[in-house]
């Protein structure tokens, strides 16, 4: 499969889905969260918003490495063959200054309802610089896209 083909599948999936499962960890203890996500147009990063008092934020301050799962399941048996799931791995960091403003504006394009949340000074825009996407289809068909290569 060509890189362009995979990127098309990813773009379509990311446009259709609003929520991602985020994995963080601290002291070897994994932790999962549901987050509203937004992917950069060039697919090199995925962004989510969180307040700084949350467990997920404390975890990724301690260890920036995270995984995200974004998928198209609709909670039916047919999901096993029909759903598409993507796991993204990479390192996270809080966007600051002009980068935060740009990330927030792009994010609100996708999640306009979260404006008050994103505008709060207590809300961090977290950028995950993705190194690899793992695309799963037809139950067991898995391909990797190494973004930085």
């Amino acid at each position: 499969m060509q890189r362009e083909e995979i990127e098309t599948v990813l773009r379509e999936l990311f446009a259709a889905q609003r929520l991602a499962v985020l994995s963080t960890q601290q002291d070897g203890r994994p932790y999962g969260s549901l987050v509203g996500f937004d992917a950069a147009d060039d697919l090199r990063s995925v962004v989510f918003a969180t307040t700084r008092a949350t467990r997920k934020f404390a975890n990724l301050m301690a260890d920036p490495w995270v995984a995200l799962v974004i998928d198209s399941r609709d909670n039916r048996e047919s999901d096993f063959h029909a759903a598409v799931a993507v796991t993204a791995t990479g390192a996270s960091r809080e966007a600051l200054g002009a980068e935060r403003d740009a990330a927030a504006a792009h994010y609100l394009g996708k999640h306009p309802a979260l404006k008050s949340f994103v505008d709060s000074p207590t809300c961090a825009m977290v950028v995950v610089d993705v190194d690899t996407y793992y695309l799963v289809r037809r139950f067991q068909d898995v391909v990797e896209l190494h973004v930085r290569l």
């Binding site: 307040t51 008092a53 949350t54 467990r55 999640h111 306009p112 309802a113 979260l114 404006k115 008050s116 949340f117 505008d119 709060s120 000074p121 207590t122 809300c123």
Partner: protein, 734 residues
């Protein structure tokens, strides 16, 4: 369903209530039946739906209303939610395509103005539920931008506190509601009124009311009309009762205003007898068209009689609802100005004299019988002042709300509470007391003795209620608090972040509130500026009183408790009876049904006792908790962020151990708790609302505050580490 965003009244299907609303359909029916109706058009619910779908507004409203179970929201919280939602409408522009379609649909005729922009809710004016008066209408609007802005304000009024409460009463889900709008040429009526084809007092008569000027003054009850009674059978005039004609309502540059009636019109009835007969005839034509008695609003623009509205006559009893109670939530400026004079000139001096007189009684010299009588008298005074509190002091809080609306309409601020920056300039009673404690702390820091100052303080404020006793008995607690203030004078200061007004004050920029006031006034149309100044002045009085009234009523309660403490000390009084006489009372918002889930007082007291016992434990002494709250959702009531150990205060005794930098967690900030506010890193309250006492004090001190956290005092335990996010209204535990 038609997707047109604008439909002219002449082409509107009178049955299309779902898309155009009851008012537009009734006007369309009248126009199509040949009655004289001003030209206009309906902005349909399709336009509303497109607007709230864009910019995520639909979900933002839903997020706002789902912060907590709607049934559990106090009216103050609903008002706050309504204010925030209204601001979403004010700050969210129309999508360009929708704006273009509305401009095209309304055309030159309905945008060059002057026009009226009126609500036309589906279901409104229909049989059964009546939404009359719950939603907004605006008169004398000119220009496309102004018309479209007022269309948005009418849409927003679907989410007003009164409309939300009324829908809750009817069991309607507000999230499924939609709103249409009528935009109509303004008939610049020199003489206007209302006609009931059947007189509510006598079914064989018709009733006609008329005033000089526009009929807004008549409809909202500020201007007394002339009345004519007519015979239903032959339309003959039976009786004319003249009014004291002193004022009229006239259009101004951007609205309408009550003005003195010119002398030459005072002796002249608004209608001649023959005109009264003509108006009644038109109303009867409407009745025969609709097939039931009608309530018709009309006006003479020049010599041309125009029908403004016609709807079936409903009485309160017929509608079977408390709409009147919800409508009374809105108070006019004049009403509040009168209330202010009563409070400032009569009630506050009276309550002060009452408390002074009680303080002057030397209880120790009274016989048991005299003491018994004194206690009963004080109980009676306490109950009296609590009633005054409910009837006069609480409603006066509307002064703040009135200004908040005006400010937001003019400025469209991102923060809907920005207006409070302009309010907090006067000295508040509890802050004055705290300033005295701060100065004692400063002297203690310099190694000076503060005993005399403390005694003087106790003499002045000793009768403040403090749980079952008074402040007079809290010498050691005050000593401790002064010590805490002295030890950490700046530790608390550093927590004060986020509140711009506070930052400006801290930076020594005392002119900031005046500058903010000036900036605001510059944005007000010149003809309205004096009025805006008056509303601001009223709001400042209202803001101050939210603190002071607590302190004053606290003094009366303290004097009652002082007498009861004397009786307990003698051992000759029945303890149960004294407990009964010492029971605290809670003011209520007049006439409004409380949320159905409120705990009864007995359970509440039991829960309070348990919580108090727990509050005195600390987090590491308690059993491991299987279920723990991690993140509690309330309302943002004071901006800023703070982290600190919680101090749960259920009874005033819990205050005695308060340390600088702790987070005050309580049901509601009462007068005794205000002493520790300067020490607190943040405040978390169970009682909800942005304009409640605790929130106002927190904002004055620039301390982050979250209110309306259900079960705050049970979910949080003293010693728990809590992060208070006053921007988003979130409390993180642990």
């Amino acid at each position: 369903m038609s997707r047109d965003v604008v439909i002219p009244l002449g082409r509107l299907d009178p049955a299309a209530v779902d898309t155009a609303g009851g008012k537009a359909c009734a006007l369309a029916a009248l126009a199509q039946a040949g009655l004289p109706v001003p030209a206009g058009a309906a902005v349909t619910t399709a336009a509303y739906a497109q607007y709230i779908a864009a910019a995520g507004l639909r979900e933002r409203i839903a997020l706002e209303l789902s912060r907590k179970d709607f049934a559990d929201m106090r009216w103050e919280e609903i008002w706050d939610a309504a204010l925030r939602i209204r601001n979403l409408f004010l700050t969210t522009p129309l999508p360009r395509r929708l704006r273009d379609r509305l401009a095209r649909g309304l055309g030159e005729r309905l945008t060059a103005g002057p026009v009226v922009v009126r609500s036309s809710a589906p279901g409104e004016d229909a049989e059964g539920a009546s939404f009359a008066g719950l939603h907004e209408s605006y008169v004398n609007i000119r220009g496309l931008d102004a018309v479209l802005e007022h269309v948005r304000l009418v849409w927003a009024s679907l989410w007003s506190d009164a409309a939300l409460l009324y829908r809750r009463e009817l069991g309607l889900d507000p999230r499924h509601s939609a709103m249409a709008v009528v935009v109509q040429e303004l008939a610049d009526g020199r003489r206007s009124g209302v006609c009931f084809t059947v007189d509510p007092r006598d079914a064989s008569h018709g009733l006609l009311e008329a005033v000089h000027g526009l009929n807004q003054g008549l409809v909202d009850g500020t201007i007394e009309p002339d009345r004519w009674v007519l015979d239903r059978d032959d339309g003959r005039l039976l009786e004319h009762a003249a009014a004291e004609r002193e004022e009229w309502v006239r259009p101004t540059a951007d609205g309408v205003r009550v003005a003195p009636l010119p002398a030459e019109l005072r002796d002249r009835p608004p209608l001649g007898d023959d005109e009264a007969v003509t108006v009644y005839g038109m109303a009867r034509r409407s009745e025969s068209f609709f097939g039931r008695p009608q309530d018709v609003e009309w006006t003479f623009a020049g010599e041309r009689l125009t029908c403004l509205q016609s709807r079936p006559i409903t009485t309160g009893a017929e509608a079977g609802d408390d709409r009147a109670a919800y409508l009374s939530l809105r108070r006019s400026f004049d009403n509040l100005a009168t209330l202010r004079r009563r409070i400032e000139d009569e009630l506050l001096p009276q309550i002060g004299r009452d408390a002074d007189a009680m303080a002057g009684v030397v209880l120790e010299t009274l016989t048991d019988d005299e003491l018994q009588e004194e206690i009963l008298r004080r109980r009676e005074r306490y109950e009296h002042w609590i009633a005054v509190y409910s009837v006069d002091f609480i409603p006066f809080a509307h002064g703040v709300r009135l200004f908040g609306r005006l400010y937001n309409d003019v400025v469209h601020p991102a923060d809907p509470y920005e207006f409070t920056d302009l309010l907090g300039s006067g000295p508040m009673a509890s802050m004055q007391r705290n300033d005295e404690l701060e100065s004692m702390a400063a002297r203690l820091r310099d190694g000076e003795d503060t005993d005399d100052a403390l005694e003087a303080f106790l003499t002045r404020y000793g009768d403040t209620s403090w749980g079952a006793t008074t402040l007079a008995a809290q010498r050691e607690t005050l000593r401790h608090l002064i010590g805490e203030l002295a030890a950490a004078p700046h530790g608390t200061e550093s927590q004060r972040r986020g509140d711009p007004a506070r930052q400006r004050r801290d930076a020594g920029d005392t002119s900031a509130p005046e500058e903010a006031e000036e900036r605001f006034l510059q944005q007000v149309d010149e003809s309205e500026r004096e009025h805006a100044r008056e509303v601001l002045d009223l709001a400042r009085a209202s803001w101050r009183l939210r603190d002071d009234d607590n302190v004053y009523v606290g003094r009366i309660e303290g004097q009652l408790l002082r007498a009861i403490a004397e009786a307990r000390g003698r051992g000759t009084f029945a303890a149960a009876e004294l407990d009964h006489l010492a029971a605290p009372l809670h003011p209520t918002v007049g006439g409004l049904p409380a949320p159905s889930t409120g705990a009864g007082s007995r359970e509440a007291t039991a829960a309070q006792a348990t919580a108090s016992a727990r509050a005195r434990q600390s987090a590491d002494e308690t059993e491991p908790r299987a279920v723990r709250a991690r993140q509690l959702l309330g309302q943002p009531a004071g901006p800023g962020v703070a982290v600190g150990p919680a101090r749960v205060v259920v009874t005033p005794e819990d205050i005695s151990g308060f340390r600088a930098g702790e987070v005050l967690v309580c049901d509601a900030v009462d007068p005794s708790m205000t002493f520790v506010v300067p020490l607190a890193a943040a405040i978390v309250e169970r009682r909800g609302g942005m304009l409640i006492h605790g929130a106002i004090i927190a904002r004055e001190y620039g301390i982050p505050c979250v209110t309306g956290v259900p079960q705050a005092t049970q979910q949080i335990i003293t010693g728990d580490r809590v992060s208070v996010d006053g921007h988003l209204g979130i409390v993180v535990v642990g």
